[in-house]
């Protein structure tokens, strides 16, 4: 017993000392709190080299905190506590945060370079005139397939996923709106439908997809696809780009009949404090060379037109991640739905997950 107590005390003291020194080191790097910008971002969603460059240019230190879902971020910002200066919510979440008065409008006079953003990504429905948000990255939902067992012509459309030959071979991303979404698009309905009949029909169609579904998983899809565990997956473009870079047999398709188009945007939450640093950072990230560097690191599509021009031609002209105008026309953006309707989407999705035949 005495030995145990001694051992535990040693460990605790050691950890305490380490924590103290690391705290000291962090503090000596940052001269004072007012020089720090707190960015609340998705995991691994910014090039760390850019943060260093930013600090060199402007003297502001960026401390990054991460979240893994829009909802988790929403809860944290709503509760306050940490003074986040910038956050990166997706489209529908911006609508929701706006409605909950959690956002601070942008001061356009301090913002330079908004014109670098392609007009098709400005003034969108979720934030008219970009009062609150600066586009950061955009992407799509699509089908990833392995050319060892699946031909490109077999997976150009959502409908083809129902092909009986794909028995037990599809992995779906565990997200109610995305899975319900492609089932809705398959029959030409809107991904934001409020029509219960259409939703029920979509759920029925998903039930009939069950024999083909191998698993419904989250981030692990990447690992599984890279290791050839499944030949087909439905996932987001950014995830796909990472898979493609690690397994040359994988390809990504955005079905031409439509899919989800999503945006992640920089916004200033109510908890913000360091406005000078915030605008310095926004302007820094709007600069084409920085946006291009970030896009190369993260692998998602950049809405910054000037930055896109700086990217290598092989990336710029990649139809998988920068779909042609015809496909772009058919892409749909999620709207923020009422809590009840979100409940319905999720209830139906849960029922689909439970469905066994």
């Amino acid at each position: 017993m005495k030995k145990l107590v001694a051992a535990i005390t040693t460990i605790l003291v050691f950890c305490g000392l380490l924590a103290f020194t690391s705290d000291r080191l962090a503090k000596s790097q940052v001269k004072s709190q007012s020089n720090t910008l707190t960015l609340y971002n998705w995991g691994d969603y910014i090039d760390p080299a850019l943060l260093k460059k930013f600090q060199k240019e402007t003297g502001y230190h960026v401390s990054v905190e991460t979240f893994d879902s829009n909802e988790a971020m929403y809860t944290k910002i709503k509760q306050g506590g940490t003074s986040y200066d910038l956050a990166v919510p997706s489209d529908y979440m911006i609508q929701k945060m706006k409605a909950a008065h959690l956002l601070v409008p942008l001061d356009k006079s301090k913002l330079h370079g908004m014109n670098n953003i392609s007009p098709q990504f400005r003034n969108l429905e979720f934030d008219r005139h970009n009062q609150y948000s600066v586009p950061y990255f955009w992407g799509t939902l699509g089908i990833i397939y392995n050319d060892k067992t699946v031909k490109a012509s077999q997976v150009q459309h959502w409908k083809q996923l129902w092909n009986p030959r794909f028995k037990d071979s599809i992995m779906l991303v565990d997200s109610a709106r995305d899975v319900m979404g492609f089932a809705l698009i398959r029959d030409g309905d809107s991904v934001n439908t409020k029509n219960i009949k259409q939703l029920n029909a979509a759920k029925k169609r998903l039930d009939s997809l069950t024999p083909n579904v191998k698993a419904i998983v989250a981030d692990e899809i990447k690992m599984y696809m890279i290791e050839n565990e499944a030949p087909i997956a439905v996932d987001w473009s950014g995830e796909a780009s990472e898979m493609l870079s690690q397994n040359s047999h994988l390809h990504y398709v955005v079905p031409s009949e439509g899919s989800n188009l999503w945006f992640d945007n920089l916004v200033i939450p109510k908890t913000a404090k360091h406005y000078k640093a915030i605008y310095a950072f926004l302007n820094f990230m709007l600069k084409p060379e920085n946006a291009a560097q970030n896009a190369e690191y993260v692998g998602y599509a950049t809405p910054n037109e000037q930055a896109k021009a700086l990217l290598p031609a092989s990336v710029r002209n990649d139809k998988q991640f920068y779909p042609d105008a015809e496909t772009m026309k058919h892409l749909q953006i999620y709207n923020n739905l009422s809590p009840e309707l979100i409940g319905t989407y999720n209830e139906l999705y849960l029922e689909f997950k439970m469905y066994r035949n």
Partner: protein, 271 residues
């Protein structure tokens, strides 16, 4: 003397109040509010009238029952033979050791073992059967869940067997009982307390396993834990999530009273 005793009790009291009673009360409180923040009993009505939730409850209970059963079938003989081995403490340590590793790490390790290119499938290919789909099946989910729960079943049973006086066994042999009779009439009933404690420790957490249902079960196995996670993280309907939580807590109390000791004592008094 008395004051000193109160002083010593204080930390325990506060601990229980803040970390056990308060959270339970908060969950119960939350469960009476709908998504718009209005007071309602609707969440319970939804739960008990929705075929989805009831089926999910049945599913959870069924899987938890299977996990407990398999764990018990493996753990009892293990604990029994462990009692007779030479280096008891060493073996026990080896059984406890895996519980020091994070659940998530163990789950990922199993993904590696069970995947298409995993060691199990490599072996199956080697002996000529060819690769099989192991991940995302009921069997793999039950296997991993059982593996994770085994130490929590072995320990109480082992302790109960250790506490058993050898004289009882000797007496039973002297009186002419064979091995089987000794086991079913003496050893098993007298170690029942350990079995009950083990069942409690395994069944209740198994009801709401949710990480494994996704990682190993590929969401083909849906338990109440999945629904709670979804209500708190996706739909943000904390009321409904809490309602399911309350149902689980009640289920826990039912299991505890079914397997608890006090009931047995009560019956003895009646005899």
């Amino acid at each position: 003397m008395k004051r000193k005793q109160v002083l010593f009790e204080m930390p325990y009291f506060f601990w229980l109040a803040f970390f056990v009673i308060a959270p339970i009360l908060l969950i119960a409180y939350q469960s009476f509010f709908n998504i718009r923040g209005q007071f309602t009993l609707g969440n319970y009505a939804t739960y008990f009238t929705s075929a989805t939730y009831l089926r999910m409850t049945l599913n959870s209970v069924w899987y938890a029952f299977l996990i407990t059963l398999f764990t018990l079938l493996i753990s009892y003989p293990t604990a029994y033979f462990l009692h007779y081995t030479k280096h008891k403490q060493l073996w026990l340590l080896l059984i406890i050791l895996p519980t020091w590793i994070n659940l998530l790490l163990k789950a990922y390790a199993f993904i590696g073992i069970f995947s298409q290119d995993g060691s199990v499938n490599q072996f199956l290919t080697f002996i000529g059967i060819g690769p099989q789909q192991i991940l995302f099946t009921d069997a793999s989910f039950l296997f991993v869940a059982t593996y994770i729960q085994i130490p929590f079943m072995i320990l109480p049973i082992f302790n109960a067997i250790e506490d058993l006086q050898p004289s009882y066994i000797n007496a039973s042999r002297d009186l002419g009982a064979n091995n089987w009779q000794t086991f079913t009439r003496i050893i098993f009933p007298m170690t029942m307390s350990g079995v009950k404690a083990g069942v409690q420790a395994v069944f209740i957490p198994s009801l709401s396993l949710f990480m494994l249902t996704r990682l190993i079960g590929g969401n083909r196995v849906i338990t109440l834990g999945t629904a709670i996670e979804e209500h708190f993280l996706v739909t943000m309907n904390w009321g409904m999530g809490s309602t399911i939580g309350v149902v689980l807590i009640i289920a826990m109390f039912i299991i505890m009273s079914l397997t608890g000791e006090h009931k047995k004592k009560g019956r003895k008094h009646n005899d």
